[in-house]
Symmetry: C2
Subunit: 141 residues, 2 copies
Amino acid sequence: MTKVQAADLLRRNGIKKTRQREAVVRILAEAQAPLSVDSIHVRLRHKDDSVNLSTIYRMLEVLLEKGLVEQMHHPLGSKFTYVLSAYGHSHHLTCTRCGVSTRMDSCPVTTALGQLEASHNFHITGHRLEVFGVCAACKSK
Amino acid sequence: MTKVQAADLLRRNGIKKTRQREAVVRILAEAQAPLSVDSIHVRLRHKDDSVNLSTIYRMLEVLLEKGLVEQMHHPLGSKFTYVLSAYGHSHHLTCTRCGVSTRMDSCPVTTALGQLEASHNFHITGHRLEVFGVCAACKSK
DNA sequence: ATGTAGATGCAAATGCATTGCATTTGCACT
DNA sequence: AGTGCAAATGCAATGCATTTGCATCTACAT
């Protein structure tokens, strides 16, 4: 995502534009997988674009309220991770050896949940699915 | 679960029997849903069977190693919760209003995952599904 | 009954996340 | 372009959940 596109996303959503916010959005946009606050922080430092940790937390809070990111627990550790929800509803395959998550291109459960809704008298508003295993790369080692 | 049954479970798994450990196992056995460490602690106090928090943490660590409990993030908060895995592989419906989780009696995804495995070249070893919504009780309010 | 490895309680340490406050900055208005 | 002000930032302090070090106690084998 270019600097301009990041600035656009902020303006369109009524979020005041700052160097820090643009930078965070760009990191999220470039990422192929959910990122922890810490890894966002590290990636920013590598770009010599340092942003304070609290600022990142506060920025993510804003993005959450606006529904622009999804927050989830890292499936193996105990931190939260974040993805731009522009990428849409998605699930991940997490490798238990290397810890890397990759996006699934489709959701394998939506159909199954309709039945569930009826049988449990529960109004379903969302779900989260995490799948664990060993990725192709780790298998070949 | 009776005191005797709890003691049995410990002995069968080569875990030294103590008042505290029996008590924790019984709380877990009686629970209908995953419990946080804190709520285990509170339930124990109500029974006048107080156990130190560290002891509960350490006990759960032991049970985890032996595969006797499953650990998961509380889907809404940021604590871990634990269920006896004797209850088998299961998923939960969590009410976003009252926070209560109830067990699903079946797993709606196992079949779907077979296909996934092939299409992503990923050896699947496990999965976790959380479903959110509004429970019957909260709906009627 | 007794010795010992392991379990417990307590307090302090850790790790992630949040918050209070002084300072800075973006932006609307002139 | 200059000015004012609300909002954003950085830093340090704080809040929780969890973990750890250590002195004491206890279950269990002998």
